[in-house]
Subunit: 364 residues, 2 copies
């Protein structure tokens, strides 16, 4: 059951309070039964919770009311959702964070946020081979059924979103600006493509929030928080991608990194992550292997299970001889992404198994 409109408006007003982050928001909601109750409580009760006097004063200001009204007006258009923390539809993995966003603004397919996501991040100034690798991995991972989540930035982020779209997969862009201030502007067409492809744009920031340096690192916690794991493609050792990866590790998420030549500066960040414990990834199978366990406890598969009959050609090939997914793609003439998606399903059904990198058909 969605929140009553008055409570939603009250949440938006709390959210619009200046200097009011996730922890203060949560403290108020825990202390009072609801945001409405918090808003009508005496200022002394707010002070007793250790909140600055200015907050209690600002809650009735015209500006705060206006912000809330603007968000409610925005919400009237189709394909727009507000997801309050603790309410149905709020992504479960993200809700685990201590500093989970109290409200998420979502444009597009909000249901994607409850499906298994894999984050892909990397350098904004990636090399051409790095961009190609990001695109290929995104294509294959999307084909294997993962939603690809990234930050809409130039470089690796953009390549990840594009790769997912090329595989007709789903992709989620988490912005470091308000949803009405797409940044970088050069990626406004990409944002539109993401929406047209059944994806989603997400932000915790007020709709008109412009780009501010401090908001991008905070945005990164949402990218990793939404995802089962984070794949870093190319990154310098001091980049934001490494911050995202460290946050992800702290959040208990898997961190994957793609290695490169020791003479390629763009590989150094990935190498540092691997030295710190990230899993070295050469192909998406290294990720699928690691996440196989997770999928059982994760929300349902994004791709509705297709009838096994459709995948009969693959089963026949595997019963003839165990082989890698690449060999299977060649033998069947199917795109690798489709083969991988099929193998994932068939494995969940117990009809195939992977041993030492080769797939084999199971009896029965």
């Amino acid at each position: 059951m969605p929140l009553p409109p008055a409570e939603l408006e009250a949440r938006l007003r709390l959210h619009a309070l200046p200097g009011f982050g996730p922890r203060r928001h949560r403290r108020l909601l825990e202390a009072f039964a609801s945001a409405s109750a918090a808003l009508s409580a005496p200022a002394s009760a707010w002070r007793a919770l250790g909140l600055p006097a200015g907050c209690a004063e600002a809650r009735r200001s015209a500006e705060v009311r206006q912000q809330a009204a603007m968000a409610l007006a925005w919400l009237e258009q189709p394909q727009r959702q507000l997801l309050p923390l603790g309410e149905p539809g709020y992504p479960a993995l993200l809700a685990e964070l201590d500093d989970a966003p109290p409200l998420l603004f979502v444009e597009g397919e909000a249901a994607l946020l409850e499906q298994p996501q894999l984050a892909m991040v990397g350098s904004r100034r990636a090399s051409k081979p790095g961009l190609d690798t990001a695109r290929a991995f995104a294509r294959q991972l999307a084909g294997a059924g993962f939603v690809i989540t990234s930050g809409l930035a130039l470089g690796i982020d953009g390549a990840a979103h594009r790769g997912a779209l090329e595989a007709s997969g789903k992709t989620v862009a988490v912005l470091g600006t308000g949803l009405q201030r797409i940044y970088p502007a050069r990626h406004a067409p990409l944002a539109a493509e993401i929406l047209a492809g059944g994806g989603a744009l997400v932000s915790e920031l007020p709709l008109d929030c412009p780009p501010q340096a401090g908001n991008f690192p905070r945005r990164n916690r949402i990218i990793s928080g939404l995802s089962l794991g984070v794949l870093v493609v190319e990154a310098s050792p001091s980049s934001g991608s490494l911050i995202t990866a460290r946050l992800a590790a702290e959040q208990g998420r898997e961190v994957y990194a793609i290695p490169g030549s020791i003479h390629h500066p763009g590989a150094r960040g990935c190498h540092q992550l691997i030295r710190d414990g990230a899993t070295l990834v050469e192909s998406i199978e290294h990720i699928l292997e690691a996440l196989r366990g997770w999928q059982n406890i994760a929300p349902p598969q994004p791709v509705p299970p297709a009838p096994t009959g459709e995948w009969h050609p693959l089963l026949a090939l595997l019963h003839a001889a165990p082989q890698t997914s690449e060999a299977l793609a060649l033998a069947s003439g199917w795109p690798l992404a489709r083969v991988l998606a099929a193998l994932t399903e068939l494995e969940l059904d117990g009809l195939v198994a992977c041993e030492g990198g080769r797939w084999l058909g199971c009896a029965g």
Copy 2:
């Protein structure tokens, strides 16, 4: 005190027995006071130890006596040593192995075997950049004071030996043939260069033992057994280098691997090792870091400590500003190998320290 000549001859006879490996050799020596006592014991005592009847019979054969005589004649030339397990001069790390060779034939500088060694192994069919990387790492590691131990094979092994020689460092080649059957023949000049450079050739096999497939994997346990760690430069997943690396890990040695592009098949073996727990290495500093602790418990430094005065220019530069070893090489005009060797010594003397990859001069 060296073994009495009669006992050495008896050890050589045990060693020459057909089908008589390290474990049987050790069992006999543990059961009797000496090899001489074992040779004169009744055949029934040998059978009681579970040794095949043929062994007891063969011990007095002309062939076994001849083998021993040949080894003693070989030993009369200068720069040749026989190191029996358990006697002074036998390398301490190698002696730790369950299947340590009962006898080592050494030509050249046997004292090197007691100095800190780093093994370098990799593909016989390495790429040009792989060979260059091996050579550069060997040069720098030898410059930092490590003896470079490898297997005299084509490819990475050869590049490792050559790199060490280029830095005027020491290098040890462990053969999978007898010392009088250098293999591959194409590397006979390299073997001669190793000796001329004050290095050593080592084998556990009878002097005239020809190349036999089974002896090369067994040789690998000596390469890793002699060394503090094993650096794998380029290797396919099914290569002998990976066997060496696994043996090394079982022996409690550090395993290091150099990553590469995911599109370079030569990097796959290294990536597999890293996924299995090997340390990813981008520069020799990653190895020096990891081995810094070991050096304290390892035999004395191979390079005799030079007077600190000679290294004053480096100290002056480091007291002016902390910097990386590469920057220091540029600033001083010294070769990087010499800078690294100096830093290692200065650090042992407590005059410099490394923090976050940058070196700084210590007060006093």
